[in-house]
């Protein structure tokens, strides 16, 4: 362990330069973030991830944001264990009917001001699962969505671009 720790000290950081905020995301957000909320939150956002029936592909890439290459926490963004602690709900999946109530309750449990980011093509409009008896199809059918990050699944860089746009607007 000592060798591994020592190498981590002398080795340069692996963390890469941040991507620029996504323009499309900035445009979508411009309408939804009010100044009061910006002042209240300062520069830090807590994120609660909610899987509303995804295939787990989006979860894998959201997990990757925590690795040393992307290091999400350097931007003041961090994942929290409860919606009670969250400013942002990061929702994946086509919202299965079996998850609709759980998503509504999680949204209700999140204190204001709050934002909802829908991650992935399924969360946008149900994606390939749209039309099934078991899915609602799109997060915005259940809770108001402030930002969509498309992709199947979106890469960690795409996720960062979207979240940085959110952070810029909140600042």
């Amino acid at each position: 362990m000592r060798q591994t720790l020592f190498e981590s000290l002398v080795h340069g950081p692996l963390t890469e330069a941040p991507p620029t905020a996504d323009d499309a995301a900035l445009a979508e957000l411009a309408t939804s973030i009010d100044r009061l909320a910006r002042r209240r939150l300062g520069r830090s956002l807590s994120i609660r991830e909610v899987d509303a029936g995804s295939c787990n592909g989006c979860e894998l890439e959201i997990h990757a944001l925590n690795n040393a290459f992307y290091d999400l926490e350097r931007f003041g963004l961090r994942f929290v264990a409860s919606p009670r602690h969250a400013d942002v709900l990061l929702v994946t999946g086509p919202v299965t009917k079996n998850m609709r109530e759980a998503l509504e309750r999680t949204y209700a449990a999140t204190p204001d001001p709050k934002w909802v980011v829908a991650v992935g093509d399924c969360a946008f409009d149900g994606g390939i699962f749209a039309g099934s008896y078991a899915v609602v199809g799109g997060v915005s059918n259940v809770v108001p969505v402030d930002l969509h990050i498309r992709g199947c699944p979106p890469s960690p860089v795409a996720l960062l671009q979207g979240l940085l746009a959110l952070l810029q607007c909140v600042r």
Partner: protein, 505 residues
Amino acid sequence: MASLTEIAAQGRRIEAHRPWPRVVVTADAWRAVAGELAAGRATLLGLWAEAGASGAVHMAVIGQDTSDIAVVSLECPERKFPSVGARHPPAIRLERAIQSLYGLEPIGAADTRPWLDLGFWDVQFPLGAKLPAPATRPGYDFLPVEGENLHRIPVGPVHAGIIEPGHFRFTCSGETVARLEQRLGYAHKGIAGLMAGASLERGARLAARISGDSTVAYSIAFAHAVEAALKIEVPPRARYLRALMAELERLANHFGDIGAICNDASFAIMHTHCGLLREQVLRAADACCGHRLMMDRVIPGGVAADVGRDATAILREALKIFRQRFPRLVELYDNTASLQDRTVSTGIVRADHARKFGASGYVGRASGRNFDVRKALCYAPYDELEFAVPVLSDGDVNARIWIRIREVEQSLSLVDQIIARMPDGPIARAIEPAGNGEGLGLAEGFRGDVLAAVRIEQGRVAHCHLRDPSWFQWPLLEAAIEGNIVADFPLCNKSFNCSYSGHDI
């Protein structure tokens, strides 16, 4: 008692089904197959239903010693069939799902509670009679637990981490778990319904999204089934490219899991370093195959795209890094007593349970079940590659970590061999547009064997069933956690890493 072969010989053989036989049998023969499973002479590979004119149930089994596979089918004009679960517990949840989705009733089943149907759908039996859902639905009764000073802890479907949705009901005595009962289905997307009538291309895209972490394995299983049904011979280069992607997927998931299990014992340094290795696999996959998770790269008939010219160099460089860094992490794991204190003797899966449930992947192999479809069925190109299937007998969290470590070593060697032997030639065969046939396919994912059963009519998917290895692993987690402390549940759960989406389909 009649053997599997004898039972199969009495049934009506369906000629269109390949590569293994499918026979339509009588209710008595169906019961006899259930008896073979209960006696341990055969292992259940899958149990599923389809709507059709009268409805039918199908059961795929593999002989205990012979590795002979057969599918037996029973037509259900009266919408009922003799319960397999009544004699062979691994079938219980599969039958409950059949009852909830198709309305076919398993006669004699001990547990008649719904499964996957959590009471939120507009329809009842959505893949069968499609009746309007009843206005009032009874509550769900968790199994009773009796004793003094017991308390219950409900967890989920929204969990504390970045994980999939599911509900766990713990009944505890102090810190000790007396019983865990799972309630799953929150990720149910009705994929069997979407499959019916889909084009092969859409079917493949759906199959690739059953469980994102196993997208390559699912795509291969689906492709195997379609290619068997339509008698398509896949070019050798496509076989090798598929194996390359399958091994990269295994590496990425095993690296991620090894770190994540240690993280659930609060040993963050393993998580950090394993996370880097995982990321480097995904980057190599992206550079070679054009998608980090390699989604939609395997298609029926071959693969969608060839690897780039620099793929060999990229992969060799990645392998070099893994071979430098991984052994040191293994040593770190092995030499950290406080970590071993959490993983050794925690969450033990009994060998007889693993065998009875036909548990595959690291869950089965950590408990002495030496089964890997890459070896058992020797599908190309694994017949030309050298690798070992590691097996341990302790059945605890530690054993499931060591199986992953050994499999990482095997996969590194396999990637080496695949690069060295990669044949030239075409990467896909064209598929005739209006083909007909039935096929069964299996593929070894990182988690275990994925099964695909497909019927194709006029070039479209008439019926498709995909069975995740998690179906036979989730119940073992309930058994493994008994007598452990609540705080060790995340550790046990992560060491299983069952798929919610793959199970809930």
